[in-house]
Amino acid sequence: MIKRWITHNFALKLIALFWAVVTWFYVNGELLK
């Protein structure tokens, strides 16, 4: 079940996670230290 959940739309989940992390670091000023 977990494997199915992860593999379903895996690329989109990965892209979304990338942007979520980048956004958080950018907004909190960690990216441009």
Binding site: K3, R4, H8, L12, I15, L17, A20, W24, L32
Partner: protein, 256 residues
């Protein structure tokens, strides 16, 4: 102590919420023309971040101005999508999962039964089965049905008395999503001039998306399956089931 825990949990929680929001946006736009624009914005954002990190002030200034203007442009360009998106908020599961193999087999059974009965009765039909590419723009051109896939329902939709029998039927997952949908016509010049609009529509949709499109000829009762811009002739129900199994189960296995 609680403050320390919160300082750890807070960023994780924030990233998790952002992840869900971004994922929903991507899923919403996946398979539509807007997704290409979204990709373009993604590249611009990466350029913007790099320009900030490397201190490229001129590029940074230019991109900042570009973003300010593009927000207004995007609101105008995606007016319809945004309206539909907001209207549908909260109607879907956050992370929907695929169907089980037994469910797919049951759906294939229902489709092939209905198609074969329609073929025997010389009833023309056009059925698109959604695969990876979302058929949202075509679904919106038709009449919403939103029902479980059943052979009887498909047959009644394509009966000559049904107001929904013109146009195509779209199946997505275990649902009949919409009927009377308009599909793009193929402009393939190698096609026989006598080929009807229904067949051109089946081929057109299979050229522009990865969906499997079934078409039954009203005049001969022949069943054809259009995939990747090509017709495959289907001689009997068993062959149709095998073709659909190959297309729909292969898609699922590929993902795993």
């Amino acid at each position: 102590m609680p403050f320390v825990i919160w300082s750890i949990v807070q960023p994780i929680l924030e990233i998790l919420i952002l992840w869900i929001v971004f994922y929903r946006i991507l899923v919403f736009f996946e398979g539509t023309r807007a997704f290409q624009v979204l990709k373009g914005i993604g590249y611009l954002l990466i350029a913007f971040l790099i320009s900030q990190i490397l201190g490229l002030d001129t590029l940074n200034w230019l991109l900042t101005k570009l973003f300010a203007i593009s927000i207004i442009a995007l609101l105008i360009i995606f007016q319809t999508e945004l309206r539909h998106g907001l209207a549908r908020l909260g109607q879907q599961h956050l992370f929907s999962v695929d169907l089980a193999e037994s469910e797919i087999l049951a759906i294939i059974e229902e489709i092939s039964t209905s198609v074969w009965r329609l073929s025997q009765n010389r009833r023309g039909c056009l059925i698109a089965i959604e695969r990876q590419t979302k058929l949202k723009p075509y679904i919106e051109s038709g009449i919403p049905v939103d029902s479980k896939v059943s052979a009887e329902l498909i047959q009644s939709i394509f009966s000559s008395q049904s107001p929904l029998h013109d146009g195509g039927l779209i199946l997505s997952g275990e649902r009949i999503v919409a009927a009377s949908c308009l599909f793009p016509l193929s402009d393939n010049s190698s096609l026989n001039k006598l080929i009807g609009t229904r067949h051109r529509a089946a081929l057109g949709l299979s050229e522009q998306t990865d969906s499997a499109v079934l078409v039954v000829s009203e005049t001969t009762g022949d069943v054809l399956l259009a995939v990747d811009g090509r017709f495959v002739s289907v001689a009997n129900e068993e062959k149709l089931i095998n073709h659909l199994k190959n297309l729909l189960l292969k898609k699922k296995n590929k993902k795993e």
